[in-house]
Symmetry: C2
Subunit: 281 residues, 2 copies
């Protein structure tokens, strides 16, 4: 059985892309405030950008906003991505950006909701509750998770930057390390089935580089380029793995608000791939 | 405008109860696997236990499990609690156990989903993303949040027990403290509108007592009595505030799986209140 990240790597090769297209149907971007409008907004984006997308990332919050109808819309959007995959002959992974995190039977229910009911291939999770809250999502190695590690918002400093001691240590490391680095160490040690990655903002290259040094093999989901304004070349230098993979760059508004979203996605894809190639020489 | 916790305290007085009735329609507890069965399971529980409930706590995961129909069921359950409140002439707060956590506009959408669309009065949140991820839920002080602090699962040790330095310090404190204590300090400092509480498991009384010493004024939501087997008297000694309030004790299966859930709720309510009274003398 293949692992989630082997699926993702296959897709990255198929489309020469590290771009993850974010599907954020924020109500202010819709013609009318309805679940149908949210769905249509996403369906159009999927159709226009699928050839350039290494993955799609629907954000659960903007669907939940519309209640039961929003939930139906989310399911339809994921089905449409599946259809596009079939049409293109290349499976495009769907990462449900839901940042869930709960214990035991509750985590089980969230996993079934995301993977079985909605049909997502991967989900973002919050690591604060520890390993047993993540396990229910890892059982099927074809499904993956990205654990929040270092987020790009100002409040990230409140907990993630605190210096911790007494946890897992990397080789030879004795000094206290930031909490987010401890999360990276734990994730690396938990990743026995190649289905755990990390969310590490692209806007703070020093942190990104530190996490890369700590977890040399993991995939990162690194928001911050595009609308959030991170510098693409610096982010790629800090975050790519030695094999030129391992970094998935989500862009939402930078594509959805462009005059031509398909063209914007193609340009993001090409720019990322171009810089990457120049670094691989 | 009143704050969420002033509403809760009014209800605690109205019903002489610190019991929070958990609404966990786990599929294994339902006669058939359907959103309607989940809804009916909860509606029956609400009807039977409302007179003894200081609050109700529906768990979002077990509704999400049923997709859009589950979302509809959740909304109907919250509406039914509102009707029971009207009938009893005493507002019973609804705490949506969803453990959300995301940044900026995304958190905004989750807040609107929970408070405006579903009609919940309070939500459980994950603190890992920091203050700005919590702010959108605090804007209306009639609505409240419980931040995960120290959970009762084994994996809680992975991050929550790590010793941190360099964060907020309590008076005179200089040594490193566990991360969960840092969360308690931050929550206490953020609670300027009386609408932030903490989730602190009742199964580890030393941790509960430590958090109480750190945050003497906050409300705690403390799972672990009932099916999870924490000792009630020890938990009350460790967690109650000096005014004999500040501790909400959720029980789910210990009530829903009882032969007579109404009677079980009444007994939990009475036992808690009895121990509390003997401590207040």
């Amino acid at each position: 059985m293949e692992s989630f990240f082997s699926f993702l790597e296959k897709r990255v090769e198929d489309c020469s892309s590290l771009l993850c297209v974010g599907l954020d149907p924020h109500v202010s971007d819709l013609s009318v405030s309805s679940a149908e409008a949210a769905r249509d907004f996403c369906l159009t984006l999927v159709k226009q950008t699928a050839p350039y997308a290494a993955a799609f990332k629907p954000n659960a919050a903007f669907f939940e906003y519309f209640g039961a109808e929003g939930w139906t819309a989310l399911k339809q959007v994921i089905e449409a991505i599946q259809s596009e995959s079939d049409r293109l002959g290349s499976m495009i992974p769907v990462i449900l950006d839901a940042k869930r995190g709960d214990i035991a039977s509750t985590a089980e229910a969230y996993a079934q909701s995301a993977f079985d009911h909605l049909g997502a291939h991967c989900i973002t999770l919050n690591p604060y509750l520890g390993k047993d809250a993540i396990d229910p999502f890892l059982k099927n190695r074809e499904k993956g998770v990205f654990l929040l590690c270092k987020t790009s918002n100002p409040g990230a400093a409140d907990l993630q930057d605190l210096l911790v001691s007494g946890g897992l240590r990397a080789d030879g490391e004795t000094r206290p390390m930031p909490l987010y680095q401890q999360v990276a160490l734990l994730a690396q040690s938990w990743n026995t089935q190649n289905n755990i990655g990390l969310v590490v903002g692209a806007t703070q290259p020093e942190a990104l580089a530190r996490v890369r040094a700590t977890a040399p093999n993991l995939w990162f989901l690194s928001p911050g380029i595009g609308a959030q304004g991170g510098d693409l070349e610096i982010a790629l230098k800090a975050g790519l793995r030695q094999d030129g993979k391992g970094l998935l760059l989500p862009v939402s508004r930078g594509i959805s608000r462009a005059a031509n979203p398909g063209l914007a996605a193609a340009e993001f894809r090409d720019e990322i791939w171009h810089i990457r190639r120049s670094m691989m020489r």
